[in-house]
C-alpha cells in the first residue's frame, strides 16, 4: 500500500517535493491556498544570476506534478492535528485529508513596506517595492513605466524590513542585495541614460556569480552604490522623491531627489505558519521562522516525528537552495516512511 504524504504549500518547495515524493511511489496530496500552483515564482520576471525567464523554472516544476498527485487548490487550512502516528488536515470548506507524514512547505511573505513609514510606501506615488517592479517587468516586456514618469534618476533602498531592529527583524533576507543589483541592471538596459543609486548597508553577494553581477553593475552600467541607510523619503511638489541618507564612507549627510524610489523588501514568516506550528507544537525560532530539529544534521526534520520542513518557512533562501532542500526533505520522508 502506498504511503501518504500531505504537503502544505504549492510553491517552489512544495512542487519540487511533490514531484520527488511521487517519483518514489508515494501518494501525495499537495495543498495550495491560492487557485494556482507556483507561489512567489508567479510574480517574478527574470531570475538571478542568469537572468533566465522565471517561467522556465515554473515549467520544470509543473512537469513534476503528474496526474497521480492529488492537487488541492484554494486550500485554506483551519486545523492540523496529529492522531497517533497519522496526520489530519482540515480545510475551511470542510475538505479533510489524512496522511502518515506531513511536509510543511508554505514559504514566506514579503515584508510590508508600509511598516517603514518614513519611506512613504503606499503614500507617495513614486515609491514602489521591488516586488511591484518585478511584477511590472513580468507583465510588460517592453515597459514604459520609466519614460512615463521621468524616471531618469532612480533610488534603490536595500534592507527594507531586514536587519532592522526597529521593525523587529534582525535577520538578513539574503537575496535582496542581488535582486537590487539585478533590477538596477535591468533598469539601465531600458534607460541607458538613467542614473541609479543603490543605498546599502553592506552588500552580501554570497552565492556564485553574484559578485560578478555586482562588478558588472558598477563597471558596465555605472550604477552608484552608496553605503548608508535611508533615514526618510518625502514627496516634492512634482511628485519626485526627496531622500535623506548618510553616506557612511564619506561620513556626510546626503540629500537628493529621485524620480522613482524602489524598496527592496525582505522575507518574513507567514502568519499562518505560526498557527500550524502552534497546533502541532513545532519549535519556532526567535526570528519567527520554523526551527528544524537540528540546524546542521536534521535540517528537514522538526521536533515532531513525521512532520518535515522545507524551503523558506525556515528562513530566507534562493530558488536553487529551495529546490535542493525540497529534494532532501523528500528523501528524508521516504526514509521515515520506509522504516
Amino acid at each position: 500500500m502506498r504511503k501518504k504524504v500531505i504537503i502544505i504549500g504549492g510553491g517552489v518547495a512544495g512542487m519540487e517535493a511533490a514531484g520527488q515524493l511521487s517519483a518514489q511511489n508515494m501518494e501525495v496530496i499537495l495543498l495550495e491556498k491560492q487557485s494556482i500552483l507556483g507561489g512567489h515564482l508567479l510574480n517574478w520576471d527574470r531570475l538571478f544570476p542568469t537572468r533566465r525567464d522565471s517561467a522556465e523554472v515554473l515549467d520544470y516544476l509543473k512537469k513534476g506534478i503528474g496526474s497521480d498527485i492529488n492537487v488541492q487548490l484554494d486550500a485554506e487550512i483551519t486545523n492540523v492535528k496529529k492522531e497517533g502516528s497519522e496526520f489530519r488536515v482540515i480545510l475551511k470548506d470542510g475538505r479533510t485529508f489524512n496522511s502518515e507524514a506531513l511536509l510543511l512547505a508554505n514559504g514566506f511573505e514579503l515584508f510590508d513596506a508600509r511598516k517603514k513609514e518614513e519611506y512613504g510606501f503606499g503614500i507617495y506615488e513614486n515609491v514602489i517595492s521591488s516586488a511591484e517592479l518585478e511584477e511590472f517587468f513580468r507583465k510588460n516586456k517592453h515597459p514604459d513605466l520609466f519614460a512615463g514618469i521621468r524616471s531618469k534618476r532612480v533610488g534603490i533602498v536595500h534592507c527594507v524590513g531586514s536587519r532592522d531592529e526597529k521593525v523587529g527583524n534582525l535577520y538578513c533576507s539574503r537575496l535582496c542585495c542581488v535582486t537590487g543589483v539585478k533590477q538596477a541592471i535591468e533598469i539601465k538596459e531600458l534607460l541607458p541614460d538613467a542614473e541609479i543609486f543603490s543605498f546599502y548597508m553592506d552588500l552580501r553577494m554570497f552565492d556564485r556569480h553574484f559578485e560578478e553581477m555586482y562588478y558588472e553593475a558598477q563597471q558596465k552600467w555605472g550604477i552608484h552604490f552608496i553605503r548608508g541607510r535611508l533615514s526618510e523619503a518625502s514627496e516634492n511638489p512634482d511628485q519626485t522623491i526627496l531622500v535623506k541618507v548618510e553616506d557612511t564612507l564619506t561620513g556626510l549627510p546626503l540629500k537628493m531627489t529621485v524620480d522613482l524610489l524602489i524598496l527592496l523588501v525582505g522575507f518574513i514568516p507567514r502568519p499562518e505558519t505560526r498557527g500550524i506550528a502552534s497546533q502541532l507544537n513545532l519549535n519556532i525560532g526567535s526570528d519567527g521562522f520554523l526551527s528544524p530539529e537540528d540546524v546542521h544534521t536534521g535540517a528537514n526534520s522538526s521536533n515532531v516525528p513525521g512532520v518535515f520542513l522545507c524551503g523558506t518557512l525556515k528562513g530566507p533562501g534562493s530558488i536553487e537552495n529551495t529546490i535542493a532542500d525540497a529534494r532532501a526533505a523528500a528523501l528524508q520522508i521516504a526514509c521515515y516512511l520506509s522504516v
Binding site: R114, E117, E118, G120, F121, G122, I123, Y124, E125, E232, S234, E235, N236, P237, L242
Partner: protein, 359 residues
C-alpha cells in the same frame, strides 16, 4: 500623495485620551514665548467644554530642558517628575495633561523606564520620600494638551464663530502643521497618528475647515533642537534648519503654520524675522511672513476670542493677514495696549518684514 495610505496609518495610531478631570502641568517657557496660549487652553476647557481641569502653583519644571542639555542628571529628573505625580495624587486626580511637548515625551520616557526597570521606580520613590516626604501614584492617562483639543475638535468646531476658510474666495486655508519632536518620535504609539504622519494637528485643521500641506521638509526640526540654540555657537545651524523648512514649504503658499510645541512656534516665528533682516527674504506674500500659531491660539481665534487676549500681538510675524483672510475682526489700535488699556508702546518695526500697525 495617496491620502488612503495616510488614513491607514492614522487608523493604526489612535490613543486613549482621558475625557475629563485633568491635572494640568505648564511649560517652563511658553508663558514667555506665547503668553496667551496656556490661559486660552484653560479657558476653552473650562468655559467652552466644561471640563474639570486643575493646576497646582507648586508644580515645577519637569527639568526636560536641563535633561536634554546634559545639565540635569536623570535621577534628579525622575524625582522631579515623581513630585509632579505626587501633587496630582494629592489632588485626587490621575489624568495628566501636559502643556509642553518635551515634558510629554519625558513623562512617557520615564514611565516606560519604570515599566521596564521597576527597581529604578523604587529608587525614585525613595528619593522623593527622602527629599519631600511625598508619595505618588502613576498617572492613569498621559495626554498632551493638543491631544485634548484634538479629542474635542468637533465640539470646538460647533461652537466656533469662524472657519479656516478664505472669506474672499470661499476656499479652505492652507496650513502647514509642525509637530514637536518629543510628541511621538520616541514612542509613536503615544501620539495621535504616530511619528511619521502625525494626525493631531491635521485633525484639528481638517475639522475646522482648513487644508493641510505636506511638504518635503515637513519632518525636519524647527531649528530649536536644544543644543542647536542653547549652545550659542550652534545658532547658525538653528536658523539654517528653520530656513530649510521655509524654503521647502514656500512653493505651497501656506496661509499659516500650526504647532504644538513650546519651541517650534518660537523659532519658526522669530527666525522669519531674523532671515528677513539678514537676507531680505520673506516667505508670505507682499513682504509678509507666514503667521505661526499655537493650537490654543488657533482654537481661540476661531471661537471668536479677541486676538489680543490670545497674545497674538507678541508674535514677530504679524498675524493680521490671517485674521483678514478669515474675516476675524480686531482693533489695531489696541494691539499694544495693556490688559487695562494702558499704552505699552510700540516695538520698532522690522526693516523688511511687513509690520501691521494699522488696519
Amino acid at each position: 500623495m495617496k491620502i488612503e495610505g495616510k488614513k491607514q496609518i492614522w487608523k493604526d495610531y489612535q490613543k486613549e485620551i482621558a475625557g475629563d478631570h485633568y491635572f494640568y502641568v505648564r511649560s517652563c517657557v511658553r508663558q514667555n514665548f506665547f503668553p496667551g496660549s496656556e490661559k486660552t487652553f484653560l479657558r476653552i476647557l473650562q468655559n467652552e467644554l466644561h471640563k474639570d481641569i486643575y493646576e497646582n502653583a507648586a508644580h515645577t519644571t519637569c527639568s526636560g530642558i536641563g535633561y536634554h542639555s546634559d545639565i540635569v542628571p536623570i535621577a534628579t529628573t525622575m524625582t522631579m517628575i515623581a513630585r509632579q505625580f505626587a501633587l496630582m495624587t494629592e489632588a485626587g486626580l490621575e489624568n495628566l495633561a501636559t502643556s509642553c511637548i518635551t515634558s510629554f515625551g519625558l513623562y512617557n520616557e520615564i514611565l516606560e523606564t519604570w515599566h521596564h526597570f521597576p527597581e529604578v521606580e523604587e529608587k525614585t520613590r525613595e528619593h522623593l520620600w527622602n527629599a519631600t516626604k511625598r508619595e505618588f501614584k502613576k498617572p492613569g492617562n498621559v495626554a498632551h494638551a493638543s491631544d485634548i483639543i484634538y479629542k474635542y475638535r468637533e465640539e470646538i468646531s460647533e461652537k466656533a464663530k469662524f472657519k479656516l476658510v478664505n472669506k474672499e474666495t470661499g476656499k479652505p486655508l492652507k496650513a502647514v502643521e509642525h509637530i514637536g519632536c518629543h510628541y511621538a518620535r520616541m514612542f509613536p504609539g503615544k501620539g495621535v497618528g504616530g511619528a511619521e504622519y502625525p494626525y493631531v494637528l491635521t485633525g484639528m485643521i481638517e475639522s475646522w475647515g482648513g487644508e493641510v500641506i505636506d511638504y518635503p521638509e515637513r519632518r525636519h526640526c524647527c531649528g530649536f533642537g536644544f543644543r542647536q540654540y542653547l549652545v550659542m555657537a550652534n545658532r547658525g545651524f538653528s536658523i539654517a534648519c528653520s530656513k530649510k523648512k521655509f524654503d521647502s514649504m514656500e512653493p505651497y503658499h501656506p496661509d499659516f503654520i500650526l504647532t504644538n510645541c513650546p519651541g517650534c512656534p518660537m523659532f519658526l516665528d522669530r527666525w522669519q524675522y531674523a532671515i528677513s533682516e539678514m537676507e531680505g527674504k520673506t516667505y508670505g506674500t507682499n513682504g509678509q511672513g507666514i503667521p505661526v500659531l499655537t493650537y490654543e491660539e488657533l482654537a481661540g481665534m476661531l471661537l471668536g476670542y479677541d486676538p489680543w487676549d490670545l497674545g497674538l500681538q507678541v508674535h514677530q510675524v504679524p498675524v493680521e493677514p490671517l485674521l483678514d483672510k478669515i474675516g476675524i475682526p480686531y482693533d489695531s489700535t489696541k494691539k499694544f495696549s495693556g490688559i487695562h488699556g494702558e499704552d505699552l508702546g510700540k516695538p520698532e518695526p522690522p526693516s523688511v518684514l511687513k509690520f501691521y500697525t494699522e488696519h
